[in-house]
Each structure stands twice: as structure tokens, then as C-alpha cells.
Amino acid sequence: MTDSRPVTAAWASCLGIIAIVFGILLVAAHGNELLKQVVITADSAAAYDLPLRCPVDELTEEGISLAECEMMGANVKSMIISRPDWFRTFQIGLMTVGTIVAFGSIFVGIALVDYRNWAPKAAIISFSALAAIDIIGFIAVVNTGPLMRQLYLWEIFLWITIHLMMSAGAFAGRRSKSIEAPLAG
């Protein structure tokens, strides 16, 4: 039996697997950020300095000290007070879109490794969209305060770099020719 699909171009195989791995990590990261924003609401306990519960048996179970337990409340409060009013809604929206696009990039990566005809163009669109989402997020965080910036900026910058490199790779690869050869069965 012969397979008439072209043999995967080497660049597509490399870029595809990278897209899949980063796509999985990004779905997880964006999903977690979405969960974080949903959970930490402005009118929740940490914002009002309500007393924390730090029983000794649970501290032992968690392997944390009393100071750490108390710091956990401060950690959440730091997010609440340094987050502008618009940020939570904005981030929930952006992360929802980001999670979906990241999921899509996994399929694009699969299509690249499987070397579908539409894959190179889809890769350019998908990776550029991811970079655009990162840049929008970066700009938003820049417009918050120093506590939010120290939390987010480096990670977002890293993703921008990754997605720009992947976009460049997709663009360069699309300009190269694929190896067209029937596979012997």
C-alpha cells in the first residue's frame, strides 16, 4: 500500500512538535491564570484582613510554618490590592481566548508534523495570534503596578519571544519547498 501524502519536510516536523509541546504548556498556563482570576475576587476574605486559620496539624500536613500560612493570606491580598478594577475581567476574557487559541495551536502542530497542505499557513496565523495575545497581555500588565509587573512581565515576555520565534519559523518554512515523494508501502 502506498501513502500518497508528501513526506514531512524536516522543518515542519521540528516546528510541529515544538508547537505541540508549547501548546500543551500554554493551555495549562492560560487555564491556570483563568482559574486564578475567577477564584480571587475583589470582595473576598483576604481583602478585608479576616483572621486566617492556621491549625498546627494542618501546618504539619502541608509542611509549612505558621509564618508561611499567614503569608498566604498576604499573598492573595497583594494580588487583590495591586490589581486595577478592570484587570480581572480583562484577564478572564484574554485567558479564555488564549486557552482556545493555544488548544488550536496543538492541532496546528499536529498538522505540521503530519504535513497537511494547509498546515504552514495555519501555523503562521496561529503562532502570530498567540504572540498578539501575549503582547496585549504584556501591555495590560505594564499598565498595572510594580507588584503585578514583577509577577507577570517576565513570563509573558518569555512567551512573546517563543511565539515570535515560532512565527518566524513558520514563515521561513512556508517559503521552502516540501519534499514530494510517495511513500513505499
Binding site: 500543551i24 495549562a28 477564584v39 476574605a45 486559620r53 500536613e61 500560612c69 499536529i110 508534523v113 503530519d114
Partner: protein, 180 residues
């Protein structure tokens, strides 16, 4: 005739597992830094319930994957790139991976069962409270959960390294798990 790659169901279950496992890792590192639960501090409720729900679902996903994988075996790998030692390493890694995923999920569930906290599957089905509140058993299974999950992370790294190797060699091995 055996197909050259895995079935679509196996492929779907595999990638569902992959995305879920990484989400569970990243979200667990965050949620363990949230304040301990109380009547006022309820930050941990949703993330922990979601974590448990996903963990229990992953056991079912793994069961489906294993069933489909063995019922519809793909054709043996014929790439000349795949040396015997690579094949042996892949088989060993896969077997240990399945065992560790199962152990990680099961120990998490057992830890929860002995913690006194109730579990509702996806906020729809109340699971029976067959376990009793037992601090020692809770901590035992919690430790097992922790160490099996670290082992899982290490094994997944080996697995991904292997996939990257084959993809960079462009030898067709990875395409077996990448069929749309």
C-alpha cells in the same frame, strides 16, 4: 490490515491526558500557596475540587486509552531509525508511565477519601463517603501522591525528549500519535 499509527480514539485520549496532566501540575503549584480553608477563606474550594475531578476523570481516560491501545494495536514500528535499545526504553517508559499516572490519581483520591472532605464528581454526582477521617492514612496517601507525581513529571520529560528526538530526526515515529 493494521494501520501504521494509533487509532483516533487513542490519539485523542493521549493528548487529553497530556493537556490535563500539565494543567494539574501548574494549577496545583499555585493552589497550594492559597490560604488554608475556613468559613471565610474559601479560595481553595474550586481549585481543589477541580483538581480532584480532573484526577478521577483521568483514571477513566487512561482506562479507555489502554483498552483502545490493546484492542486496536497499530502496525509495528518499521523505521530503521528505531534501534532495539530505543524500542526497549520506549516500552519500559510507557509501562511505568501508565502505572505512575494511575498511582498518582488513585493516591490523590485515597488521600482525599481519608481527609474528611466530601467529593462530588464534576459537581453532579455525590461520591459515597466510604473512607473515614484518618489523619495518618490521609498523610500516607498524600505523600504517595506527591512522590508519584514528581516521578510522573520526570517520566513525562523522558517521554517528551524521545518524541522530540524522533520529530527532529523526522523518522515518522511521532506521526503515529499525531493523526488528525
Amino acid at each position: 490490515m493494521q494501520k501504521p499509527g494509533y487509532s483516533k480514539t487513542a490519539v485523542t485520549m493521549h493528548w487529553l491526558l497530556a493537556v490535563s496532566i500539565f494543567f494539574l501540575f501548574i494549577s496545583s503549584w499555585w493552589m497550594l500557596a492559597l490560604p488554608l480553608p475556613s468559613a471565610d477563606y474559601r479560595y481553595r474550594v474550586l481549585p481543589f475540587q477541580l483538581h480532584k475531578n480532573m484526577g478521577m476523570t483521568l483514571i477513566m481516560v487512561l482506562a479507555v486509552l489502554l483498552y483502545v491501545r490493546f484492542k486496536h494495536r497499530p502496525a509495528p514500528e518499521t523505521s530503521h531509525e528505531m534501534r532495539p535499545w530505543m524500542h526497549k526504553l520506549a516500552v519500559i517508559d510507557h509501562i511505568i508511565l501508565y502505572i505512575v499516572i494511575f498511582a498518582c490519581c488513585l493516591s490523590g483520591y485515597l488521600s482525599s477519601a481519608y481527609s474528611g472532605w466530601t467529593t462530588t464528581l464534576w459537581w453532579l454526582v455525590d461520591l459515597p463517603d466510604w473512607g473515614h477521617e484518618d489523619e495518618e492514612l490521609n498523610m500516607l496517601f498524600s505523600d504517595i501522591h506527591l512522590w508519584t507525581c514528581w516521578a510522573l513529571l520526570a517520566l513525562v520529560s523522558v517521554h517528551i525528549s524521545g518524541a522530540l528526538y524522533h520529530a527532529f530526526r523526522n523518522d515518522g515515529v511521532v506521526r503515529r500519535m499525531l493523526r488528525l
